[in-house]
Symmetry: D2
Subunit: 282 residues, 4 copies
Amino acid sequence: MNTPAFDTAEEYEDKVTGWWRTGVSRIRPGEILLRGYPVEQLIGQLSFADTIWLMLRGELPTAAQRRLLEAALVAAVDHGPQAPSIAAARMAATCGLGLNNAVATGVNLLGDVHGGAGQQCMQVLADLEQAASQGADLDAAAERLVADYRADRRHVPGFGHRFHPRDPRRDPLLALVEEAVTTGEVPGRALRAGTALERALSQGRSRPVPMNIDGATAIIYRELGFPPELGRGLFVLSRSVGILSHAWEEKSQNTRIKGPLPRPLLPAYDGPAPRDLGPRHA
Amino acid sequence: MNTPAFDTAEEYEDKVTGWWRTGVSRIRPGEILLRGYPVEQLIGQLSFADTIWLMLRGELPTAAQRRLLEAALVAAVDHGPQAPSIAAARMAATCGLGLNNAVATGVNLLGDVHGGAGQQCMQVLADLEQAASQGADLDAAAERLVADYRADRRHVPGFGHRFHPRDPRRDPLLALVEEAVTTGEVPGRALRAGTALERALSQGRSRPVPMNIDGATAIIYRELGFPPELGRGLFVLSRSVGILSHAWEEKSQNTRIKGPLPRPLLPAYDGPAPRDLGPRHA
Amino acid sequence: MNTPAFDTAEEYEDKVTGWWRTGVSRIRPGEILLRGYPVEQLIGQLSFADTIWLMLRGELPTAAQRRLLEAALVAAVDHGPQAPSIAAARMAATCGLGLNNAVATGVNLLGDVHGGAGQQCMQVLADLEQAASQGADLDAAAERLVADYRADRRHVPGFGHRFHPRDPRRDPLLALVEEAVTTGEVPGRALRAGTALERALSQGRSRPVPMNIDGATAIIYRELGFPPELGRGLFVLSRSVGILSHAWEEKSQNTRIKGPLPRPLLPAYDGPAPRDLGPRHA
Amino acid sequence: MNTPAFDTAEEYEDKVTGWWRTGVSRIRPGEILLRGYPVEQLIGQLSFADTIWLMLRGELPTAAQRRLLEAALVAAVDHGPQAPSIAAARMAATCGLGLNNAVATGVNLLGDVHGGAGQQCMQVLADLEQAASQGADLDAAAERLVADYRADRRHVPGFGHRFHPRDPRRDPLLALVEEAVTTGEVPGRALRAGTALERALSQGRSRPVPMNIDGATAIIYRELGFPPELGRGLFVLSRSVGILSHAWEEKSQNTRIKGPLPRPLLPAYDGPAPRDLGPRHA
């Protein structure tokens, strides 16, 4: 029925399987290679965080790299059911869906605004790091950047929190990075850029604007060499744990068709007053 | 506009916040408790797998429990782009979506058929374990169960693989469970039930029907005390790693609007031959 | 790299394109056939509802069929932001996602519990219709069915409403079906089964349990010959309109990261009291 | 447990229900208002397309507006299983999900690249229309715009098709707009902008770059006064019909866990050669 597009079976094979090609894994009868390693060698040997690193980076992490990755993944697992990702997953769990669908619902919401600040902060850090590597004074560059954001009435991603005066995850995460910088296990460029930014943001303010979870994990992921977009990817893996935990808790509470408000409360309505369609329209 | 439903602010507070209640986390200004622990104590102390356990179970795992959980999570991260979950996430990555949306797309597909075998196997194991605890002979019970499934022309979930003659993940996973049973760190009931089932399935067959990844992880999750539905939840966390890795790889290949077949191949059409609508229909 | 599986290009073509085969549409350069009709003949001639029918059924509807389909699609477009599907889509719209992702989030929640009652009611009607076609007394069969559900403490799907004493969509939908039955345009079997069920449910009750939107549309979709599962599919198309309208309204309100409760209210916490992790765990 | 934030029940009511406020619908016991109209007046009177318009715009369409909206919705329902949205929904249908989840999977993929061209084209048209309204020569403005896009090596959204030399949906859609412009039912500004763009794109080319479905529907939606973002929203409603039809067809074919390639074909692997993990890593 379709115009034949190839002359030989080999041409087809090249075309069709080349359209689906991967360096992540090779699956053949009796064989599962993950980044070249037979899976049976990884089971029992690698931690889950090691495996996340291997799958995303292609090689194994050092002990220091794994330690920082674990810390960042642990820090971001949950921020309660006020977060729309968690709330939506809990609602999904009351609608007769599988846990997979409930988790997907929550993960889907980790978009530019809700889950993208870490990724955006990594980009900001990358720009500052580059300026510094070209000889610019880091503090001066950070001050210019802050001034530019303020002129545009934009928030610098990764700093300040609408809820916490000081994000409790900032200090322990930065302490781990500082330790790794001291021992030379990570370069320290993103840490210097991030703290310069934090100083610049607090200058001349009575209330400082400290780094939040997105800023602190952005520093870690930059120090570990991840591209910005994977910053969001790693946040997704981390927050999936909280999403699953909440969806499961909600399922265990046996609510059905849960909306945002309990039943006796109704959403406010600000549309037109009741009206008639008038004479037959159709 | 709405009929007032409560008389006091306290009644409202009870009703509204009680509608959103959780034991997973408590978030207040400056405070993030995960299952009662301040998050700043967990960062740098817990592994990612420890934290998964804590969030789902409410307490910390023992070293042996963590080791088994890590192994099960590592084993299931990926099975290549032939899996619809991975393929759909890769397609999503070419449509101008964020990585969060691509991962959600893949996770959403881990339904009863694609991601539910582990959960179903846990239920089968639970039934056998219960029979055994009530004094039944395990091998006889397993044989009856296999006979029942075969009479209904159904596959026992967790056994056999449409691709691998012997799933390479089976042996290393079972070896870890056996070790933990030997040292008394897990009870061994699910292991005994699962291996009885494997024996029953192979009886009188020239080709055995060995346990697959779903069966082997089902044994681990049962030995660790997870309810069946969380078996699927844990698979979701594990497979999310492969989904993310593939979605990211696809993004890096810069394909746009990738369908299942490369462009010169067209899907076969078996609908009606071209036809005319005829005189104006509407 | 892979073992060649075919000898000729034709074998490949058969295998690969046969894996992706469809009777819904044929797309070739310069040609788009929908169920055999060139799309350019449909544009301007068919209504959107006609096209929904054509795509799902393969042929065009009669005027009476179209009229009932339109009515059922119109009736179910929205039930306000208390519905989790709408609420979740509104939340999604505040997270930096495209409208497509927001609509997908809402649609995903129309599962067995939230969107499946119509489908389940169609199954119940099908069973009653079959009993009647085999000579059973419809009222007696309906009474037995109601008794069985009550014995299992289950609700008969499609009847009663947790919010409306009488669903305002019931009467106008049933009036349209009755009209079509009178003129012989639909057979009337599902209408008779549904009203028998309604009578049986109200027997001996001071408060009747009238048909709701799911029941009334189930009658229409059965009269029109749709299989039960497509009942859910049609509900998805209908409710997508409300989901889109609400997601769009929410975007226009410019809220960011909207959770279920406004910021000064916090979810209730019923987990463990704050506690210490104790000596270094890892 | 939480700091009380309000003093009276009325304050709570304002705060909580004001957080969830809408002008789309009002749902109270026994009452469903859609944009102010009681739903029972709409059933049997409005077409599905009328109701889409009412829900998104707040008022009813004229006959001419409805006719154009129907045409645009009909034109975009399907473009075959090569489209990733359709392919992913079909895969989802083989994984043990409900039709709602399969449709959500497809809709989720209609992102900036796959579903956003119409929205982007509406923005381009809006810019040209504004230039024209300020007295600029439309053809000159269109030529500058095309030159700018070509200088950036970008495609003008809504023109050209990677598959069809001439999109068969262009002519019938434009014919309907021209008719409505002639009778004065729509202003014609977007039509003039779009055709100016088409002329500019074809200038000095042996092969013209005709308007595609995204361009033609963008003209219609602009003539009807929809904001660009709703262009994507309307495409989502339209394509949902094709997604549902394909997901349903796939379910009826009873495939399980369908990936992109049939089983004997394997994706190409371009990762590292098999390798050993070496001495115990953990």
